[in-house]
Amino acid sequence: MFSVINLMVRRDILLAVRRPQDVMTSLFFFIIVVSLFPLGVSPEMEVLRSIGPGVIWVAALLATMLSLGRLFSDDYQDGTLEQLILSPQPLALVVLSKVAAHWLLTGLPLVILTPLLGLLLGLNGDEIQILTLTLLLGTPVLILIGSIGAALTLGVRGGGVLISLLILPLFVPVLIFGTGAVSSMNAGLGVEAHFSLLGAFLVLSLLLTPWASAAALKISME
């Protein structure tokens, strides 16, 4: 089972390394969206600090969504996906590997960049630490949930915009608890509840969404 995942993840990363611009675009998008807020809202550090976690989370949400369209589409276009569906491995496992590779390529870079952007928005050390940890837990959930939308809209006209309509409402809980952790810490309340809930979301989506995405892929490939 793990050899399959290992193989699939390596393959996807190798493909991405050969064409790095795909990965870079969503990363640049993330940085640009965040840096628009001081220009659009206010350059005052106090204001930026209060909206900072929300801004970074929303930007991460949008960047993730932007890259989700490519989760299955390359394999769909060159026929690999059809082979994968026919292969003896359970499709859910294939989905899980693709999601893992996708997170390593697009989710993890967002998490790594977060401290830097947090500094730009005037967050202090503790806030940055908490925020980065919530993104570490939250971005895999976003990609897992998003994989269902990506599978459902495969080959559908207007798929790019459609996927945001399907997926964004489902992102709301992750967004709430991701940003909530920072404000809860500042309010002197603990952050344990937020982290346990984000952890629960991660476990639940790891268990459930690959099956849903696999079913969606089969529907889209019929």
Binding site: L152, T153, L165, L166, L170, V172, P173, S183, A216
Partner: protein
């Protein structure tokens, strides 16, 4: 082998017969439900405006409640019902269940819009603001987004079979998420200690309760009637190559 063939036969019969038997049944039921909806609406409107007295605090604006509450209830119930039909579609593979789910979605979205709009219209004179980010209003807004996603996905896929399966899966995923979304929005709302609307829970007078009940029933009857009408259209569209449909339509005229 033989049993498998029988099963196949049964399945194809089930598929074929359900829309075929359902069409004339829907034809007969629609006028009844529509008629009931109209009568109940008239009674409900009369009671709303002429029977129940104005609220001693809110004055007349609280009369909006008699459409706001039924619309909000229907918007949530219809989503659940839609997911239920999607589930039935997957388990029994009955086309009719998918048609019901698809027919319900647009009416559900309309009621969600009504609930949001009337909530805003009720909020302005009562609480002095058009919109607050309170848990209930925010969840209702997210529910609207879920409906819009479902409707858009259905509309974007041309093949009715794929549309049925894809949108059905989305409805099921959505219904699993609805409680999580509602829970997180409530949590978010209490954390921010922001706006929360509390209606004074005075015991409702009997006549108010009856008025609300009549309106709820009117909304139900209307929903059933319009969904049946939409399913009837869907049947005509999908079964246009069958001879029974031509006969059925010939009988009507």
């Amino acid at each position: 082998m033989a049993s498998k063939q029988n099963e196949k036969k049964l399945n194809s019969w089930l598929k074929f017969s359900s829309t075929r038997n359902f069409y004339p049944l829907a034809d007969k039921m629609i006028p009844w439900f529509m008629g009931l909806a109209i009568v109940l609406t008239l009674i409900g409107l009369y009671m709303t405006f002429f029977v129940v007295p104005p609220d001693y605090q809110q004055g007349n604006s609280y009369r909006i409640m008699y459409i706001h509450v039924p619309a909000a209830w229907m918007s949530m119930l219809i989503y659940l019902l839609m997911a239920l039909y999607a589930g039935i579609y997957f388990v029994l593979n009955v086309k009719l269940a998918d048609m019901m789910a698809g027919g319900l979605a647009i009416t559900g979205a309309i009621f969600t819009v009504i609930a949001l709009w009337t909530g805003s219209m009720w909020g302005k004179p009562t609480w002095g603001t058009w919109w607050v980010w309170d848990a209930r209003l925010t969840s209702e807004l997210l529910l609207l987004f879920l409906y819009l996603g479902y409707i858009s996905l259905r509309a974007a896929i041309d093949d009715p079979n794929r549309a049925a399966k894809a949108s059905g899966l989305l409805a099921l995923v959505g219904v699993v998420n609805v409680p999580i979304i509602y829970f997180s929005v409530t949590w978010w709302n209490t954390l921010h200690q922001g706006a929360s609307i509390t209606t004074n829970k005075t015991s409702m007078a009997t006549e108010m309760f009856i008025t609300l009940l009549v309106m709820v029933f009117a909304f139900w009857m209307y929903t059933i009637a319009i969904v049946l009408m939409r399913v009837r259209n869907e049947i005509i569209e999908r079964e246009r190559d069958t001879s029974w449909l031509v006969e059925e339509l010939g009988k009507e005229k």
